[in-house]
């Protein structure tokens, strides 16, 4: 699609043939610096996210990640997939950044993510649908973050959407 096409309403842009597709399982390692940087970007003042002594004093084995650090885990997973020559979720869905928004995001937490964790990341493309007479198209995505010893830590259900109007 050329830039001139942005002004006109396209048909659906997501690649709907990816429905049901599971992306390759990848493993990512969480570093302290990533936890610190993420907390800083969100303006989090609690020292448990940057100071290892504060984290240990609070009873944690290492720096804990904020709940929405999931985004950073997914980005790391994309990097791992790229090393395997595999496309990212965004590429696979053919997301158009000029029209892309988040619809909703829902996370179930069964345990915290800590610096030093090695995590298994899985993502599956669940379904596509439209709203507002086709002016918006949605995709539902499910992901899990699993630790080998502590089990499933995060289950994420999200929708992304294209504004087509």
């Amino acid at each position: 699609m050329s830039e001139a096409d942005v002004a006109t309403k396209p048909a659906g842009l997501f690649d709907r043939s990816t429905k049901g597709h599971a992306l390759p399982t990848v493993s990512v390692e969480v570093e302290r610096g990533q936890i610190r940087f993420f907390a800083k970007a969100l303006g989090e003042s609690d020292p448990i996210h940057r100071d290892i002594d504060a984290a240990r004093a609070a009873g944690y084995p290492d720096l804990p990640a904020l709940p929405s650090f999931f985004m950073a885990i997914e980005a790391m997973a994309d990097e791992e997939r790229a090393l395997l020559g595999q496309p990212s979720l965004i590429t696979l869905l053919r997301c158009d950044f000029r029209r892309l928004l988040h619809g909703d995001e829902s996370y179930a937490y069964n345990g915290l993510v800590f610096a030093g964790d090695t995590l298994q990341f899985d993502t599956k493309i669940i379904d596509f649908y439209e709203k507002k007479g086709g002016l918006m198209e949605f995709v539902t995505i499910e992901s899990t973050v699993i630790h080998a010893a502590r089990g499933t830590l995060i289950t994420a259900t999200r929708t992304l959407l294209h504004r087509l109007g």
């Binding site: 990533q34 969100l42 950073a72 928004l101 829902s106 937490y109």
Partner: protein
Amino acid sequence: MANENLNDVQVGDQLPGTTFGPISRTMLALYAGASGDHNPAHIDIDFAKKAGLPDVFAHGMLSFGGLAQLVTRWAGLGRLRSFGARFVSMTQVLDLISCSGTVTERFEAEGETRLRISLMAQAQDGRQTLLGEAVVAVG
């Protein structure tokens, strides 16, 4: 610091409100780097204008993270059982976001007492940006 426990919390109680922002371009650049979400619509005004937008706009997940902090600062990180939100409108540069939450239910699940919290993020002009819900453990 978070509360030691939430045993005395009642349905109808409000969480201490928080604000974040005003949203600056620096915040968006830092969030892009920290989250790995490099969508140029949030950090590159040239891209935004070519896409027909007046300016870059904030990552939805930046506000999502801010709304989650309302809950974790009050309840503590380890008590959060679930958190979700719907993105109701776009958050713009210079928006000052106020986060509020109200306890709507006290219930038992998986052998513990939990609280359900209704959440909202709102810009300075009253525009709702996020509507969400969290569940936290009491103990």
